[in-house]
Structures are given as C-alpha cells and as structure tokens.
Symmetry: C2
Subunit: 210 residues, 2 copies
C-alpha cells in the first residue's frame, strides 16, 4: 500500500487515480449504499467511464475492502499514537476523543461508509476490518477504565460504542461550523464518559434509574 491517504485531511496537491476513485466511491457509497451505486456511477464521478476502473481495482468489492481497511488502520494507528505520546495521563481520554472527533469531522463520507456498509464486505475483508476495529475499541476501553474510576469492562465497551455513535452523528447535522461542532462533540462525549458510567457497576442487576 504505497499511499494510505484516502483521508480528506491529507489535501494532496496531486492525488493518485486510485485515491480519487476511492474518494468518489466513498461519497457515493455513503449517499446511496454499496449496492445502490453502479460501476458506471463511480467511473463518471471521476471523469472516466465504467470499466476503466478495472485498471486500478480488481473488483467493486475490492474498492470497498480497501476503503474500510484503510479507515480502520488510520483510526487504530492514530488512536494508539495519541495515547502513546500524551504527556500527563489525565489528558489521555480527552486526546482520544478529540482525535476521533477531528477524524469524523474531516471525513464524513468515510465515517458513514464504515458505519453502514460493513455488512457488504467480502468475508475475509470483514474479518480483517473487524479485527482492526476490535483493537481500536480495546484501546478506548483501556483508556476509559484508567480515566474513569470503577467502571466494569462491559460497561466501558458499551460506553465506547455509544460515544462513537455520538461523534459519528456529525454527517447528519451541519448546523454549526466545523470548530464549534468539534468543541461541542468533544465536550458532550467527555461529559457522557466522565459523568455517566460512574457508580453504575457493582449494583444489583435490577437497578433502574427511572
């Protein structure tokens, strides 16, 4: 994999054909779903038409596969990098949240595709993506459990998924400008993580907050 790119924040002056194609396909898959987009649609979105795509990808499935593994790799390595390089340990969770928020705001189409089209992957591709995602969730779980006292592992896992849902909601609402949105999402995610799961575990299963 010569150039990972695919991410809108790279702002390459000269993106590879492969990269343009993946970007256009991501946009289309996000809007219409994998099966709702034809080979010809993707082609004409980058100015070439139809079967020319097969000079760059082996199949339509391969496009989705490369797209999703690429996202998963970027998220995993980026998240791990943020965790590794943070100065004081109290700031790790905030750093992780901010990283995911920035990624989601800068790559809304990719986020949408990863959320919606995991089921359209080829079996081996899905296994690979699932494995990467699991490791990403794992780093979140670890950081949550060291940052928030006394939260069980299943609760941390569920909370991580919930926060992903919160942050990934960004493609569906464009009411604020980018930086306001980033701050809002970061603060909401932190509040949800820090204030909510506390004191939740260790209680009887029949407990109800209502």
């Amino acid at each position: 994999m010569p150039r990972v790119a695919l991410s809108a924040e790279s702002t390459d002056p000269k993106p590879t054909r492969r990269e343009q194609i993946l970007a256009a396909a991501a946009e289309l898959f996000a809007r219409h779903g994998f099966h709702g987009v034809g080979i010809d649609d993707i082609g004409s979105a980058v100015g070439i038409s139809g079967p020319a795509l097969y000079r760059h990808f082996r199949s339509k499935d391969a496009m989705l596969g490369e797209m999703l593994t690429s996202i998963s790799e970027v998220l995993l390595t980026g998240g791990q990098a943020r965790v590794a390089t943070v100065a004081e340990p109290g700031a790790t969770l905030g750093e992780l949240v901010r990283f995911h928020v920035d990624f989601a705001l800068d790559n809304p189409a990719l986020i949408t595709v990863q959320e919606r089209n995991l089921g359209n992957l080829t079996d081996p591709d899905r296994r690979k993506v699932r494995a990467l995602q699991r490791r990403y969730v794992e780093t979140w779980v670890e950081v949550i459990r060291t940052s928030v006292p006394a939260v069980s592992e299943p609760t941390a896992r569920a909370a991580a998924h919930a926060v992903f849902g919160l942050i990934n909601s960004t493609p569906h609402s464009r009411h604020l400008d980018r930086d306001q949105m980033a701050d809002l999402l970061t603060d909401m995610a932190m509040a949800a993580l820090v204030h909510a799961p506390v004191g939740r575990d260790g209680l009887q299963p029949g407990f109800s907050a209502g």
Copy 2:
C-alpha cells in the same frame, strides 16, 4: 392505516401478514441494506415465496416507505405524548430521553433501517419522512432549550442529533443486558446534554477547547 404496529413492543398475538412482512424486511434491510435484499429473500423470510408479496404491497419501495413513515410517526407522536403528559417540567428532558432509549432498545432493526436507508426512499416518501423527523427534532430542541439554560438553537439542534447517534448506537453493541443498557444510555445522554452545551454559546467563533 389500520394497525400501526411494526414495533416489536406491541407483542401482537396475531400479527397481520403485512406486519410480519414489514418486520422481516426491516431485519433484512438492516443487515444487508435496501438494495442488498431481494424480493425473494423477503418472501422466503416469512415462508411465502417471491411475488406473493405483491398481494400486500404495491412495490418494494412501498415497503420501505411504509416502514420509515411508520417509525417516524411513532417517534413523533410518542415523543409529543411524553412531553405533554409529564408532571413537573424539570423531568421532561429525562422523559424524552428515556422514551427514545426504550424505542431504540426494543426496535434495533427499525432504528438501523431509519438511519441507513433514508436515501433509498422514493422522493415523496423521503419528503414525508423528513418532515416528520424535523418535527421530532423540533420537540427535542424546544425541550432542550427550556431544560438547559442559555443554549442557542443551532447548538441544541446539533446536540439533539448527537444524542440520537449515541442512543441509536445500541444495535452495534450488545455487551450489557437490556435494562443495564437502558440506564447507561439514559445517563450518558443526560450527562452529554446537561453538562456539555452549557456556557458554549455567546463565545467568539474562534474559541477552541483544544
């Protein structure tokens, strides 16, 4: 529309054929996407095969259309009912959150379909669903703005969408049992809404928390 049903919580002893079909189709659409499911798949999921569905629906698009308008109507009327019948005004937001949490936990397939397949609707159907959703968001915005002091309307709208994302994440994580999950999601949503957007508005646009 004789029977709204479609919702798993109704636990009809004798669901209509239409209802079984819609439930099966929702499950399939959620898993494979609208275009990834064939008429024959839906048919055999309810024990009949293929074109027999056209005795109950005019087209495949009509199935999705009825499914999504039904969900949107249930959410809107249910939400408005909770808001109308709440005793003390301070509990309104919590009531609304709990209502949405319960719906999402009891109808994961429907939530998934509504999130992913809005773009596959017919134009008039999409207009109708969008209108219903807008009114639902509107009641959320009103309740948020009366419950949380000094939050601007665009911020409240963005926060509502973010909370929907948080709550609707439930189909993607099954690590807790239903009631624990309901409590966790409710508390996270409330924390995100109450603690985060406070003091956010009225600041200069250039403000950044990072």
